[in-house]
Symmetry: C2
DNA sequence: GTCTTTTTGCCATTTTATTGCATTTTTAAC
DNA sequence: GTTAAAAATGCAATAAAATGGCAAAAAGAC
């Protein structure tokens, strides 16, 4: 997805197109797996000249999440992980219990189970817990 | 589940049956929804005379989790949530995005999606995000 | 009860995230 | 392109959740 496209999405959501927001959204869109705010910061440090403050990263991610451009995943780790909200949607995630790697899986959304009265569902998330290939073979001791 | 039963499970796992472990396991077993360590502490404060230190709660929960007596859920909130590992297994959870309430749902485990080569799945978790009844009607403003 | 090992309490520290406020950037109007 | 209003940022302080070190206490074996 091109920068003008991302700018447009930010503007359409009613916000100002700032370098920080654009860089964060770009970063998450380019990554092939969900990232923590610190990982975003690290990526930006490697790929840009001006690195926004850590707090700015948090605020940019928050804004993007509140306005539906990125999504926070449910995790077992301490840090939050975010991924862009794309066209193709509804896939599962694998989380390694040892290295905390989180990767997207091409799995269809399971059907929505019945909820208690008055409850409203907005999203269904499927998480597979286990060991990634590297952690299982002990390549990363 | 009775106290001797719980003690037995702790001893069978190879650990000492301490008041803290027993109280924490009892607390999680009695609760009708997954609890955070702080919530466990709070419950114990209301239902017991001696309240273990916060760090002890953390360590007791950790031990129980490592030995398979309780399970940590994937959450969107900052605090971890734990539930006892019971006989009847594999149910989904609802998480309210406003009040962070987390409750168990009677939903069957979805089938395990195909994983990348070398990956090993250990558990499948289904999370429903949305608004609980109270938050939807604004009973808890 | 005595002995050995495990667990606990307390304090300090770490990790992750949030808040307050002065300064800067963005955007729109001119 | 200047200017003015609104929104976003940087920086320091603070908060929330969890972890680590170590001496004291409790569990279990005898
Ligand atoms: Mn994904
Ligand atoms: Mn449950
Ligand atoms: Zn791994
Ligand atoms: Zn709620």
């Amino acid at each position: 997805m091109t920068d003008p496209d991302l700018s447009r999405r930010i503007r359409d959501a009613g916000g100002r197109v700032t370098t920080a927001r654009l860089a964060v959204l770009r970063c998450l869109a380019d990554a092939d797996e969900p990232l923590t705010p610190d990982e975003v910061l690290e990526h930006l440090g490697r790929n840009s000249d001006h690195v926004p403050d850590r707090v700015t990263i948090y605020r940019a991610i928050d804004w993007l999440a509140v306005h539906g451009l990125v999504r926070r995943l449910a995790t077992v780790g301490r840090a939050a992980r975010y991924e862009p909200v794309e066209d193709k949607e509804a896939h599962a995630h694998f989380q390694c219990r040892r290295c905390a790697q989180t990767r997207c899986l091409p799995a269809p959304t399971p059907p929505l189970p019945p909820l208690p009265p008055g409850y409203a569902a907005e999203r269904v998330e499927l998480v597979i817990h286990g060991l990634c290939a590297a952690c299982r073979t002990g390549d990363t001791p």
